[in-house]
Homo-oligomer: 227 residues x 2
């Protein structure tokens, strides 16, 4: 039976989109902490009580924006993978790195919402976990499918780390050796860290533009993993 | 001529400290965007007009908090260096990494203030640049003084990067070869990125606690630099 969308459903989707759009505008203008359902309703000319039928609380609206941000970032990564389907692992790695940076630079407030300072009083619910995993999974997919070259010796993972890596490999990247996973996680931290320091102004005066530092870091991490 | 502090000066210092303390409390409770001179004055039982004689605007108070945060982080790094004066470069590197993480975990809101999401409408002034450089300089000092081992080949810096590295080396680490500086910058990004993803909850479920991942990353970056 085909899913037939009623006029009411379409109207609801349309209004949900408009609410999130206005919320993103406020996010950019005054930050996530200031986001207020009342202000969103006012801007849209809605009664607050009507808005509450779409998002029951500020936190619910924030969660929707966070899921959208991770989803857009994940889509950007997946599009980069699709566009380089016939490329080498190194080319695909590079493409995903640049896609992530490009999306973050085009959407700095949304990037800040998911990777920046936590919002006081807000705790991200379970529903954000799967979309949050999409960028790491895109990177791990490349690493898993590539024939990894031998890499320079890395220090042996100490303490609990081997166990954590084995459990994470089983969950996210079956078959990937723990040390390769550790390097891939390291590269992901490097990607998030580098986008963060660039967006937050920490490279101004040293690496401006940061394009070549970014390109070099993408190569360096690929090299370290053995891609 | 010794600098004799008058009772008035001492009172001013004391009150400045109390204002910043209350501002840090508000930072933790409701975030940097919500920081309000009016609310700080109210909590301290001061007239707003009196508070304005200490900090002329919210931005001036923010700047003071940012400088304090960088200074505390820089002090923590320097203390780690002092405590390992007779240690190997690797031991000193490790000590600075752990000092930075320990300070950030003890002061997550202050860490977020300097490395997290930018505050809408606020631009950090020139006065924050020198304190911001202290952690990178502590790390670079170790790298400069250490006899660096040969490291695995890294990709050649592309485009503008060699020029940027040469200029930055001249300013911050005279004598350090550009590629070693690139690796040191990379390690600093890794440090900031790793503390960020840990503090912001991105390692929950995978690396919990993240102690061993952190320790391993410190070794891995030292290894890559040739320390």
């Amino acid at each position: 039976m085909p899913a037939i969308r009623t006029a009411r459903e379409r109207a609801r989707e349309e209004l949900t989109r408009e609410i999130k759009q206005e919320a993103r505008r406020q996010l950019a203008a005054s930050g996530a902490q200031q986001l207020s359902l009342r202000a969103v309703a006012r801007e849209l000319g809605m009664a607050s009580s009507a808005l509450y039928r779409y998002f029951a609380s500020r936190d619910e609206l924030l969660t929707a924006l966070i899921i959208d941000a991770y989803t857009e970032l994940g889509d950007a990564a997946d599009q980069a993978l699709a566009a380089t389907e016939d490329g080498t692992p190194r080319e695909r790695w590079r493409a995903v790195w640049h896609a992530a940076r490009d999306w973050a630079r085009a959407n700095p407030h949304e990037y800040g919402l998911v990777f920046g300072t936590p919002i006081p009083g807000y705790a991200a619910p379970q529903a954000t976990i799967e979309p949050a995993g999409r960028l790491p999974l895109a990177l791990l997919g490349i690493v898993r499918e590539a024939p990894l070259r031998a890499t320079p010796t890395a220090p042996a993972p100490p303490g609990d780390l081997p166990g954590q890596l084995t459990a994470l490999a089983a969950a996210m990247a079956p078959g990937l050796p723990p040390l390769a996973l550790a390097r891939a996680v390291s590269a992901w931290v490097q990607l998030i860290g580098l986008i963060g320091v660039e967006l937050h102004g920490h490279l101004v005066g040293g690496f401006e533009p940061a394009d070549d530092l970014f390109a070099w870091t993408a190569e360096q991490t690929a090299e370290a993993i053995g891609l």
